[in-house]
């Protein structure tokens, strides 16, 4: 177990190294820090002097090492626009995005399992065919279209849900303010979570359905029937557990990917999270903030994947984590 953990941590570090290289390359090539610092009116000699002083004429390796060293100490540069450390800016926006992703994840889990299981058990009913048809459409409709359509119907036409912002928040600790403590907060997070969930939901339904159908054909399911086990137990104990094992791995990756999809969702719903912030940073060519965003998102991605792999190892009895480390 410990050996496996160490192995996974090393893999995660390697991935973070690559991400930081990419981040640094962007930093190095996008925008001119001098223009941001001193403006247009300074002579070329002064600029060269400043470049030397800032270390911008050092070799790529030296500059990267300085960048990585700072990053390890939590210094990802200073945002040009906010005049604050980029990491602080992002961390303030992080809770909003995380709550949105959490809401979407809950919706995905809560819907895809029962729907996937139902369509696998009864593949030929009208309801199943309808669901599968909708899921094909769902896969191909872009998220901003879903989002705009939802705003139009549920906010503009019916006025059931607010269409932008986070509403009433309750402070938890540090920069974390939560949507889940007030009715108004719940109302505000509804539409954005559903919109975000709608990207992954069809994929999950189809994945669970396909896995479940395969498992239902297996010998052990036939054997469970031959033992006279009740149908609900066959479906939800014998079949579902085997179905979800491969889904956990894929699902973990997809939930990591969802953080990236928040850019569009947050922008449409004016959700004050880091995706919305990222798009603004791109518009303002706020390079340190862009790079910091990439690194933070990459970090979240790596951490979720590692955790998902560990969970997989813990719930699957045939995976021996102790042996996998060797």
């Amino acid at each position: 177990m410990f050996a496996y953990l160490v192995k996974r941590v090393f893999q995660a570090i390697a991935v973070m190294f690559v991400i930081s290289l990419i981040g640094f390359a962007i930093q190095d090539n996008l925008g001119d820090p001098l223009r941001e610092l001193v403006g247009q009116s300074v002579s070329e000699e002064v600029r060269q002097e400043l470049r030397d002083e800032l270390g911008l004429n050092d070799s790529f390796v030296t500059q990267y090492l300085r960048f990585a060293g700072n990053a390890l100490q939590g210094d990802l540069g200073t945002s040009y626009f906010f005049k604050e450390p980029a990491l602080d800016v992002i961390l303030k926006k992080l809770p909003a995005t995380m709550e949105l992703v959490f809401g979407a994840t809950i919706i995905i889990i809560g819907l895809s399992i029962p729907v996937g299981v139902y369509t696998a058990i009864y593949p030929n009913t009208i309801l199943s065919r309808l669901v599968m048809g909708i899921s094909i459409i769902g896969i191909s409709v872009p998220v901003f279209l879903t989002a705009i359509l939802m705003i139009f119907v549920f906010s503009v036409e019916y006025g059931w849900f607010p269409s932008y912002g986070r509403g009433d928040l309750v402070h938890v600790f540090g920069p974390w303010e939560t949507n889940f403590a007030t009715v108004d907060g719940w109302m505000h997070i509804m539409l954005p979570s559903i919109a975000l969930a709608s990207i992954m939901l069809p994929l999950f339904v189809r994945l669970i359905r396909a896995e479940m159908m395969e498992v239902l054909q297996s010998e052990y399911v036939k054997y469970a029937k031959a033992k006279g086990i009740r149908p609900w137990r066959i479906y939800f104990v014998h079949a579902l557990k085997n179905t979800l094992l491969p889904v956990i791995t894929v699902g973990g990756v997809q939930i990591g990917t969802m953080v990236a999809y928040t850019i569009l969702t947050e922008t449409v719903f004016q959700w004050p999270g880091m995706g919305f912030m990222f798009l603004e940073a791109v518009n303002r060519v706020d390079t340190p903030l862009i790079v910091a965003y990439l690194i933070v998102v990459g970090f979240i991605f790596v951490v979720t994947n590692t955790i998902v792999d560990l969970i997989y190892g813990l719930v699957n009895p045939t995976v021996n984590l102790a042996r996998m480390g060797a």
Partner: protein, 330 residues
């Protein structure tokens, strides 16, 4: 009254635009505690017979006509709920490959306890006690610890013993074992068969043993059905079928046994293959491969007749027999 009485059972498969017949007019009886072997080449319909008895035919297979009377109830007519109460309880099944039969994510204990609790009102600890007793009966060492283990932690032979123990959990009247040792190491095949025989004898459980190994059938069973292309072509006491087979197909099977061939010589295989379900010849299905074939064999399906001590479906059985008698006197 017999334990099981199958009458004119026909099983069909619904294909895209027609149906094919997988079992054709199968009839046989099994007395309480009797052991019956079903033999035949691959594709003869042995497994289909076993699953039909459990009402577990998977689509597109279905029982088209006939009756399966088990202790007086017709299984072919039962609802799913009624049938569930019989499966694993009064009638149990042992599958072919123990490596894929047990659920990989449930412990042995969970898979035993759930079987008991599906049929009886028991607490979990009472069920575990019964499970331990049954594991001891199949000679599993330290049974209490096994309950906590997952299938992948156990060998194939051990798993098949556990599956036998599960079959015995609710003291059934009938066990259907479909090639219970073919997936196992040769060295433990005999052990498993011996165990099965011992348990069936001591518990007076009826056994239907599906196999293509005539040697196993002769050790294990009292009566034998020989199947070919979805039909029973010969049925009778095992000893008599092995020592004095009447149907040319059965004779061919016995001549093909390694014991019948001198070392170093090629096995005497029956030439040709069994027809596929979509191309079963009219008349006698064995006619294209039969060395005694006559014109009427190709056109008329043979009736099952009682001949000496067995029942056999062959037009030429009389002639065959007189030939053989001639051979003996010569």
């Amino acid at each position: 009254m017999s334990l099981l009485s199958v009458r004119d059972l026909c099983v069909k498969f619904a294909m895209r635009d027609n149906t094919v017949t997988a079992l054709n007019q199968i009839s046989f009886d099994l007395a309480k505690g009797e052991r019956l072997g079903i033999v035949g080449e691959s594709g003869a319909g042995k497994s289909i017979t076993g699953f039909a008895l459990m009402n577990l035919l998977s689509r597109p297979g279905f029982v088209d006509s006939g009756n399966i009377l088990f202790q007086g109830d017709d299984i072919a007519q039962m609802s799913d709920a009624q049938m569930r109460r019989i499966r694993g309880n009064r009638m149990a099944m042992i599958f072919q490959d123990p490596m894929v039969t047990l659920n990989p994510v449930l412990t042995i204990g969970q898979q035993m306890v759930e079987t008991l609790m599906a049929h009886r009102k028991l607490s979990k600890s009472e069920a575990e006690q019964i499970a331990i007793v049954k594991l001891r009966e199949v000679y599993i060492p330290s049974p209490a610890e096994r309950l906590k283990q997952y299938p992948h932690e156990l060998s194939g032979g051990m798993r098949q013993r556990i599956i036998i123990a599960i079959a015995l959990l609710l003291d059934p009247q009938l066990i259907i074992a479909d090639e219970p040792t073919t997936a196992l190491d040769v060295t433990i095949q005999a052990d498993i068969m011996e165990l099965l025989l011992e348990l069936c004898e001591t518990n007076k459980v009826g056994l239907i043993l599906i196999t293509h190994d005539l040697g196993v059938v002769s050790q294990m069973t009292e009566r034998t059905l020989v199947m070919y292309a979805g039909r029973i072509i010969e049925a009778g006491r095992t000893r008599e079928i092995i020592n004095d087979p009447q149907h040319p197909y059965t004779q061919g099977l016995i001549n093909a046994l390694p014991q019948q061939t001198a070392p170093g010589q090629r096995l005497k295989q029956i030439p040709g293959n069994m027809p596929s379900l979509t191309a079963i010849p009219s008349g006698c299905p064995f006619a294209p491969r039969c060395e005694y074939v006559q014109d009427h064999c190709r056109t008329d399906a043979p009736e099952t007749v009682k001949y000496t001590h067995v029942e056999v479906a062959c037009h030429e059985v009389n002639r065959l027999h007189s030939d053989k008698a001639e051979e003996m006197t010569r």
